[in-house]
Symmetry: C2
Subunit: 305 residues, 2 copies
């Protein structure tokens, strides 16, 4: 039985796009219910500037609360060195940094070049080692499959960036289809090439369903050997460049596809659908997607185990 | 350059579920615009009982009009021998008959057993040969991947039915996921097994996106060698057993995935989106789905050729 690990990024990617502040105690309730539904990993918050993203002003309370709960892998996003400092101070088990493969996207999104963002990752690794904390450092390569500003992103750029990040000490690489441009053939090709560089360093994929190919891209990555995916409950989150479009691939639907195919995710889909109902009540008027929430599980559905 | 052929079933599967009667001249306009957008095949009508499905009361006008247009493959659905007689009388180039692999579904849907439906196909073949018409006879096996009434449908049942239909003279076999139960691993396995029986007889797949796996299932079938798929513009049509759920896989999104992967469909996606706008105006309040219509094509998109 092959195990596939889903990391729910709803509390980070989803809440980042949500209009209402979700109270800290509701965030913690979310983690408790997700863990009870068997979600193995959760990106619980972001150490972004509280002025820019007030949703995550409670990161210093949320991260320790999640760490104290146990039962699931805890990570948080860091946009820069300052965010890393805050995460290290709390002894975060894992922090997820982001570099954009498209220089234009990097400049527009975080106001610095791709090269500078890669350089800053080196500083973050050195800071961690200097502080003597054991935080695992993961890096997502945004716009790996194309960019809505720059258009095509050469695969050679993604490979060079991955190589630099690996040599600086990245302990996980995530290939992110930030704007929903990826297609299955491209996924298979790029994943294979990055795996060739990464050796034992795990590779995960972060797909958006903006153009409907999210689960087909999961299938292509799966066939190429990827065993970890970012997903989001109710498909929350996603792309500000495509208004009205769906966001991250949906946790429930991804778990349904994988379990139906005989892959074990550990996820109890009905329990996850209950949590989805809670999240919808908490957040109110947001964009929720997902086929299983609409149509229900097939009569023939069996959990892989 | 591998060519993939999409057969748009919107004018049949889609209109069958639509509440308003679409005037005959609008149906013909639909074919004209779809053909101009490069859609290679269209299921143009159904020779069903005009009392049961008044939408198709104009089948005797629609089919000859479509045949006279040229530029695309024309076929029509036949639910039974009586429908076949009407199609043969008009010298239909191709008629699509349906047998349900689930006996419970067959009894509920068309009031006869699977065995009787298979037997009636034999009569239809003999009638065609007796009349000396050259109509190609295609057969869809509904509920090939499971049934919302009976639950699991054994693969051995589907294989036995396929074998019987082939020996009776089926010139094309379509595996239909009528209720949206299929998963990619199941698709790969069943397609491979049926291909083993079918020899040179083409196999096509008819997927619904009821549970979000439509395009992942296309990918699995594609990897197994399938080169023809049923799709529906705007995702029209689908499953009366799953209210609110999406219907057939969407023509625009399927063409987008295939072209992005380097498969040639011949379809001009922007022209198809224009037609979608017309269809939405004509039909009014129906369930329209599709990601490309919401999010647009990627900046990087190139037609395969």
């Amino acid at each position: 039985m092959t195990r596939i690990s889903l990391r729910d990024v709803g509390p980070r990617d989803g809440l980042q796009a949500a209009s209402a502040f979700l109270p800290t105690e509701k965030k913690i309730e979310w983690f408790r219910l997700a863990a009870a539904a068997g979600v193995p990993d959760i990106e619980v918050t972001s150490f972004s500037s509280p002025r820019l993203l007030p949703q995550f002003a409670d990161a210093p309370e949320v991260l320790p609360a999640a760490m104290a709960m146990g039962g699931f892998g805890v990570s948080a996003l860091i946009p820069n060195r300052k965010g890393a400092e805050r995460g290290f101070a709390l002894k975060a088990p894992k922090l997820n940094y982001v570099v954009s493969a498209s220089n234009a996207h990097s400049l527009s999104n975080v106001g610095r070049s791709t090269a500078d963002a890669v350089g800053e990752f080196g500083e973050i690794v050195r800071l961690r080692d200097h502080l003597g904390v054991t935080t695992e450092l993961s890096v997502g390569i945004a716009t790996s499959f194309g960019c809505s500003i720059a258009g095509r992103v050469p695969e050679s750029d993604v490979l060079r960036i991955a190589e630099e990040l690996l040599s600086l000490g990245a302990q996980e690489i995530s290939l992110a289809d930030t704007v929903g441009y990826a297609n299955p053939r491209q996924v298979a090709r790029l994943v294979k090439a990055v795996m060739g560089l990464a050796g034992d360093v795990p590779l995960l994929c972060h797909f958006h369903d903006t153009r409907g190919l999210g689960l087909a891209n999961v299938l292509a990555a799966l066939d190429t050997g990827v065993r970890v995916f970012d997903t989001s409950i109710a498909g929350l989150g996603g792309c500000p460049f495509a208004p009205g479009a769906t966001g991250n691939i949906n946790t429930e639907d991804t778990a349904f596809m994988l379990e139906s195919m005989g892959f074990a995710t550990g996820i109890d889909i009905p329990a996850l659908l209950d949590l989805r109902g809670d999240v919808e009540r908490w957040l109110g008027d947001e964009r929720y997607s997902g086929a299983i929430a609409r149509a229900g599980l097939p009569k023939t559905f069996q959990t892989a185990g």
